[in-house]
Amino acid sequence: MAERFAQLADVAGNGDERASLGLKLRRADRRRKLRAYGLIAPLFLFLIAFFLVPIGSVLYYAVANPEVIELLPRVTRALADWDGQEIPDEAAFAALAEDLKAGYADRTLPKVSLRLNYEVKGFRSLLMRAGRRAKRLEPPYKEALLKADQRWGDLIYWRTIKENDSPVTLHYLLQAVDLDLQWDGSIKRAPPGQRIYIENLGRTLWIALVVTLVCIALGYPVAFLIANSPPRWTKILIILVLLPFWTSLLVRTAAWVILLQRAGVVNDLLISLGLIDEPVALIFNRTGVYVAMVHILLPFMILPLYSVMKGIPGDHMRAAASLGAKPWAAFFGVYFPQTLPGLAAGCLLVYVIALGFYITPMLIGGGGDQMLAYLIAEFATNTANWGLAAALALVLLVCIMVLYPLYQRFAGAGGMKLG
């Protein structure tokens, strides 16, 4: 902009005036830009400090592997050159005894024993029992430890310790997609009874997709109605859409339980109308989950659609009709393409929020309806396996990021330009 004015000044005045005018304009421009950056800097720093940094550090848990290196340092060093084919020598056992004594005394042994238990079931009690006896151990340690518990003669325990001697690990990330990291670096699928994460992810993506499609089917006509009604009706309809939106999610979910249960309002109504004889199972199954989730997410579809539809002049449809287009042709040729940005925004909102749902499926769904956030919550708050919780959260994040270019294509094509 400064350059443009400088060009005009060029044409207009003489050399010196031109130069000083251009300089003044560029300086003013820079000052304006700095002021603008200064105004958004606090928000930018806030986002970095309270959003990116905490989330980044939580996601780091997905690969962090500090326990074995920090809490079993001597064993790790002793096993550095071990090939893993035979029981380690006396030096490794001595190192283990030292680490057990130290770990039990400063109470860090439980942490590393629980971490190793994630890899081999029973490792926890093995380490804790050995830790309790460690004070009374005498050299030769190999004999003493093998006598105390013959499991120490099993290679798998030593191999697991050696496997975890690096500060980062793929264990959690692989577990989050039903894979298992073996000690020699190979990757195997988890045993059949243990494969839950991929199936759960697939179910989560599917439920979110179905809910989005139903929201489009129900929300588009409602938004169209609101956008094309007289102003007095618009206000009332918008309030009707927003009112449930302002009620707590938990209250709405509990209300659905009352409506859909066997002796609930819906079943009683259908029986009294004579449409069915026995109560229908509407809750604790997938149907109930879909109904409740669509109810909760519908405003997120209606509002963006409405805001875009409001901006489409009524003349366009009339112009299309006057040019000879039949009603449906006019709709799909003229009106619908202009609502695409709103549709894309609504779909993105509904889909992403639906992916993160867990309370509604937990209270209304059955055993086969739990979504990924339920597992993440279980690991994050209950068992405190933050590595696995972070890995699952990362998987979900990647799924959502894959969606974004898709959204860009539809939103961008509709002409919703930002800046």
Binding site: K111, S125, G193, Q194, G367, Q370
Partner: protein, 352 residues
Amino acid sequence: MTVKGRVVTLALTAAVAATFAGEALARDFTIASWGGGYQDSQRKHFFKPFADAEGIRVLEDTYLGGWAQFKAMQATGSRPWDVVQIETSELVRGCEEGLFVKLDWSRIGPKSNYIKPAVTECGLGVVVVSQLVAWNPKNTKVQPTSIADFFDLAKIPGKRGVRSDPKGTLEFALMADGVDVKDVYKVMSTPAGLDRAFAKLDTIKPAIQWWEAGAQAPEWLVSGDVVMSTAYNGRISKANQGGHGLKMLWDNNILYVDKWVIFKGSEHVDAAYKYLKYFSDPKAEAAFTEDYTYGQPNKAAMKYIKPEVAAQLPAGDNIATALDTGSAESVEFWLDNSDEIFERWTAWKAQM
């Protein structure tokens, strides 16, 4: 700046400074418990009388289970609470990791005053909760007489409410399949035993309705959604106070004894010990059972409890065939196996 502007700025600065100054002062003695009506009752019988007797301020907070908050406390070094009521698995973990104080029983009371499950290295028992089979006699003609009836869809048809947690449910299935109480964990430690527990649950799988919160089970029994359910005894008794006439089967029930623990490094350790001593008062504990029919840690409390209330407590004859999840055997088994069993449980549940 105008005079008004200067005054406003000064006032705001003073307010902000006051907030931070307040933070720098020591925190009052804080107890964390389950919240809700349960904590209200504890406040009435224990917290408030203790605060009045000692002349100190007692703050409260809610703790709903899980290890995550303790892990965060270890990581940040913060201790928002002094005393908290926790479950056995967290108790054992916190005791081993040095988060909780090893109790000095001379400051609380002689160990012989308390029932055995209430005395542990780092914790004093708070209440004895029993998870048992409950049913609504109005919903079924045939009344169940043993827990095997829970798994008999021919004898008593209808849906069953089951707690959505493998811990407690797998033991329940094994006992219903005929395993003796003292052999349950030995059997479960073998792959065949674990398969047996899942196979037993498979026999009623299509009829199972899973519950997460304690309040759901009595609700479903009253509304007729399920014909039988595993439930916490206190919740059933509370529903019966409203006249719903639900019945309980004490046969092979499963005991959970939550414990009070004191945080190591807390600046109110003295007050905490005084609180635990106050809590052991048999009369106060007996009065508490009027609100919540849970077993009390002090043996002497039974003297002050009315017989009709005592009949509903997980105490005496009612727990003759009960399984204690606080036993060393149970705690060891679940600390070792909970991760793997959780995955198998989730996979199994998903194939509904």
